[in-house]
Symmetry: C2
Subunit: 285 residues, 2 copies
Amino acid sequence: MVQRLCIIGVGLIGGSLARALKTAGAVGEVIGHGRDTAQLQLALELGVIDRAETDLAAALRGADVVVVAVPVGAMEGVFRAMAPHLGDDTIVTDVGSTKGSVVAAAERAFGAVPPRFVPGHPIAGTERSGVAASFAELYHKRRVILTPLPHTDAAAVATVRGLWQTAGAEVVEMEVQHHDEVLAATSHLPHVLAYTLVDTLARMEEHTEIFRFAAGGFRDFTRIASSDPRMWHDICLANRDAILKVLDRYSADLAAVRSAVEHGDGARLLHTFGRAKKARDEFKQ
Amino acid sequence: MVQRLCIIGVGLIGGSLARALKTAGAVGEVIGHGRDTAQLQLALELGVIDRAETDLAAALRGADVVVVAVPVGAMEGVFRAMAPHLGDDTIVTDVGSTKGSVVAAAERAFGAVPPRFVPGHPIAGTERSGVAASFAELYHKRRVILTPLPHTDAAAVATVRGLWQTAGAEVVEMEVQHHDEVLAATSHLPHVLAYTLVDTLARMEEHTEIFRFAAGGFRDFTRIASSDPRMWHDICLANRDAILKVLDRYSADLAAVRSAVEHGDGARLLHTFGRAKKARDEFKQ
């Protein structure tokens, strides 16, 4: 049981965690802090938080756990603002989609990464954003990755792990760099590809017709292109190296498929498509 | 009302059309023909067809309308086999995802494209295949594109149009080449991209972990990579030029996004992602 939980950035991710913990009776008071006072007011009205604080020092006062749920690009600024007001015993965690950049931001902002800072990443979300889209079941059966550093306090990790488990998630630990590589492959690259495809088609002369004759497969394939552009802009800048690495591998493979199409190399196409189908079908199960 | 309908290739597409027309009471007898006798027997047991014929001449005898629902790569062989047995009054249509290649195949097989041959393409389907996956509502509110040639018989077009409308579809007409360009953009390219991505990731060392930490966005994005590899191999070979054209445009755009990621050009990323989100959100409505 966490007596006082402070959520900085009460949107889809922070709001859903607050809802889940309240539903489970696992928190005393939930304090929300954010720049967007309308969102904060809405969070209060929806019962997602118990108290809204626009003053950061007041929001942090007496908090047992602070969850920083702001976009990756805003992390460092928030950490800097938090630094003077953070109690020694306060546990801090974040929900950023990239972990190397967040750890580096914490290092710069706090001088060194505090022992009670537990970098985290819930692998959950929808293409929607904002507290109005939040719901208590968002993390149910989803995975949350924690990337503690060698000197991170084990009790702090256990507390953060417990919060996510209470919200219904399966928690795993991973090294920072490994997290960033895996997520670049399964999440960051697909978003880049989907945004690029929709933009390519939208800029074609026949774009109205193109979208008119798109079917269900296209709808699914491009759903993630409805995600928040600012958030994905942040992620692309924050996880640059890992994204470039997997993107280059993908581009080389795409060039090989292109060449097979051009030269009518049916055997190669069948081999590649068949191997992909097999992998995708196994993933489904 | 069509007295005798012959479906050549009773899988998801042909089977669903047969089911829809039977449900609507719009056909007398449905004859199924195919190479796969197990599928044909199953179609009979499921009531999708009234009679199974493994002999093509027998299947075509007395048919008012023949629907050729075989993979694009098998069209020419089927047309050639049909040619000696086709009645002058028989209307023929197909369901191929590419139209230029099917028209060219008909031209080669029949000497000239018969006036009662109506090239068609229902924009519907799932990643599943086979007659067991067929259902009467597959075409409900879906679009069907017909690409009649200048000399195509207007009454034949009207009959084919009527069949699809009875199945619940909205029917539009388009020129052959234009169809192939639009579909290359909205359907063929996305399949190529999805197959390539899944294959790229499946061949990485950490592939087990990569798929383990994939979330809902990835699941949607790669769903089409579960489609029938043979069918998409056929389509890539059949619609080569249009696919290469839009693939090259996409690759150039992807290279620009890559460059923006590499050089930390946030403004460019935000612009591209924002424009894509806007287009995708409009498409949703």
